[in-house]
């Protein structure tokens, strides 16, 4: 059990319905401060629904969502975002008609870009610098993913919610993203990362929560799960080498 002091985000008995269907059936788990929590599970397990419920894009029908001691379950999405939670959705949420610069600018505070912060982000994603005034819709899939993550970290955030960032990317691009996550991790950034690739989860995760059919079926240390092949088989149904 993670103590309240350690947990930056805690979900207690969260139920979410989409239309007539119950998707989350009482989700309980916590995300510890300064750590990367991997959120694993098969397709349709309810991971994206959990992230969207945290962001207030779908309403929790029941249960509590506590962020840094404050209940956010009933808050509007913009207010949740202003608490310092950045969200990178599975479809990346890029504004295709806007340039890379404009996409980034929208994620900054009203004062605009701070040169030092911008340089730090563009150092991790040099391709974005080259495409700075290009319409984001014209970027490749990998570049769009970079833009989505760069946008999430252009300002200091307290929590990053990232949904399947490596999906459909080339191995080289995945390696680049792993490097970025490791750098964020070294800076004590708190991340809740939905991932389908176990090797990626193993490379960057500190903690892990595994979800199935709207329930959390396992929570613990990532290293312990990586070391226990039988548990992986039981929870995820596949060998550690492959995708979940």
């Amino acid at each position: 059990m993670i103590g309240d002091g350690d947990a930056l985000l805690r979900l207690d008995g969260v139920h979410t319905d989409i239309g007539r269907y119950r998707i989350l059936h009482g989700v309980d788990f916590a995300v510890r401060r300064g750590r990367v929590t991997m959120f694993l599970g098969r397709n349709g397990a309810g991971k994206t629904t959990t992230l969207r419920t945290i962001m207030g894009l779908w309403r929790a029908r029941k249960g509590r969502i506590i962020f840094d001691g404050q209940s956010i379950a009933a808050m509007e999405t913009p207010r949740i975002a202003r608490l310092g939670i950045a969200y990178v959705p599975e479809n990346m949420g890029i504004f295709g008609k806007l340039t890379v610069r404009e996409n980034m600018l929208l994620a900054t505070a009203p004062r605009g870009f701070v040169e030092q912060q911008l340089d730090r982000v563009l150092e991790s994603f040099p391709a974005l610098k080259l495409k700075w005034e290009t319409a984001a819709g014209a970027l490749s899939g990998g570049q769009k993913q970079m833009l989505a993550i760069a946008r999430a970290i252009i300002e200091q955030r307290r929590l990053l919610l990232i949904d399947e960032p490596t999906k459909g990317l080339s191995p080289a691009m995945v390696d680049q993203l792993i490097e970025v996550f490791l750098r964020l991790k070294s800076e004590q950034t708190t991340i809740l990362l939905v991932e389908q690739s176990f090797p990626v989860a193993e490379a960057v995760g500190d903690d892990v929560a595994v979800m199935d059919q709207g329930y959390i079926i396992h929570a613990g240390g990532m290293a312990a799960l990586a070391a226990d092949e039988a548990l992986q088989h039981r929870l995820l149904g596949l060998s550690i080498a492959g995708a979940i």
Binding site: P78, G93, L98, L105, L106
Partner: protein, 330 residues
């Protein structure tokens, strides 16, 4: 032809459409009538843009299709009529300065009245039907009828003449072409507003939020922007523009009636569909195309004028099923 060229052609074709139509019309009607009709078409198009641009942003930002938009056009026209009444002395003078001051006062009053009415309309009517398209259609059509009837109660059922100011009557001769002075004036005012809107949308943070919100409501909220609050501002601005458009349109036609807004409705919706719902740039191109087509065809085959715009819409939709410049590729 390489794929790159084809891609570029596909991207630029919507922008080339208007000059192509203008060039095709030139040899068909000769230079004199062509110049007259082109200016008339451009000024009509720009006035339609004033009305349609607000509606397209309102739809793009919150998926609200407001069929009562025409009511704000009519209210703007009547408020301008009311304001211009006491200023009749200024508009009758052959002084350009006095005429322009009177028009500016009327224009601001029309915009303010329609904008304030729009604010109330959003709070009382639209807010209740977010995300419910069928209810939106029913309630906004109902509201259109109610506002039109209230206009009749306040200003009477008769159409009222709205003469143009003295300096803007008559025509300017350019070579063999006679160009109505008021049309040139309307074209200038419309262009100033269109440029101001473009600057707002592209050079300001709020404009950026509006453009992003039109593309993806959820993501802009996830970045911390309250899209509902932005929408109220856009709704007010959209209805204020409709009021300005109503005043300019009524003077263009020299008459105000409770049907002033209705007379634009079909053309405005054609423009929205041609341009791509939610797209301001598409709306601009669509409005100019509709204005030009209406005037060219009205000259060559008057009975086909309105039908020609429906045909234009059908042809464009066959070519680009989601309009000339759709807001997203999805």
């Amino acid at each position: 032809m390489s794929e790159d060229w084809l891609d570029r052609l596909h991207r630029w074709a919507p922008y080339a459409l208007t000059p192509i139509i203008m060039l095709i019309a030139l040899p068909v009607m000769g230079v004199g009538p062509w110049l007259t009709l082109t200016v008339a078409g451009l000024s009509m198009g720009i006035l339609l843009f004033l009305v349609a641009s607000g509606l397209t942003l309102i739809f793009g930002l919150m998926d609200v299709l407001n069929f009562a938009h025409a009511a704000f056009v009519t209210v703007g026209a009547y408020v301008a009529l009311t304001v211009l009444g006491p200023l009749a002395g200024w508009t009758a003078e052959l002084s350009l300065t006095l005429n322009l001051v009177a028009l500016l006062v009327a224009l601001l009053a029309a915009a303010a009245a329609s904008g304030i009415l729009g604010f109330g309309f959003e709070r009382v009517i639209i807010r209740q039907v977010y995300g419910a398209p069928l209810r939106q259609i029913l309630i906004t059509i109902g509201a259109l009828t109610v506002i039109e009837q209230l206009v009749i109660v306040l200003w009477g059922p008769q159409a009222v003449p709205l003469p143009k100011p003295a300096s803007l009557r008559g025509s300017v001769l350019i070579g063999a072409s006679a160009i109505e002075t008021y049309r040139l004036f309307a074209l200038c005012v419309g262009l100033v507003v269109a440029v101001a809107m473009q600057l707002f949308l592209t050079r300001t943070r709020l404009g950026l939020v509006v453009r992003a919100g039109v593309e993806n409501h959820e993501m802009i909220q996830s970045l911390g922007y309250n899209i509902r609050r932005v929408f109220v501002g856009v709704f007010m601005a959209g209805t204020a523009l409709a009021g300005m458009g109503g005043m300019m349109w009524a003077q263009y036609q020299a008459v105000v009636s409770s049907q002033t807004g209705d007379s634009m409705t079909i053309l405005v919706f054609i423009i929205l569909i041609i341009g791509g719902l939610g797209s301001v740039s598409g709306c601009f191109i669509g409005a100019i195309l509709v204005g030009l087509t209406n005037n060219y065809v009205g000259f060559l085959a008057p009975k086909l004028a309105l039908g020609s715009n429906i045909l234009l819409m059908a042809l464009i939709l066959l070519w680009q099923p989601r309009g000339l410049l759709p807001i997203s590729e999805d």
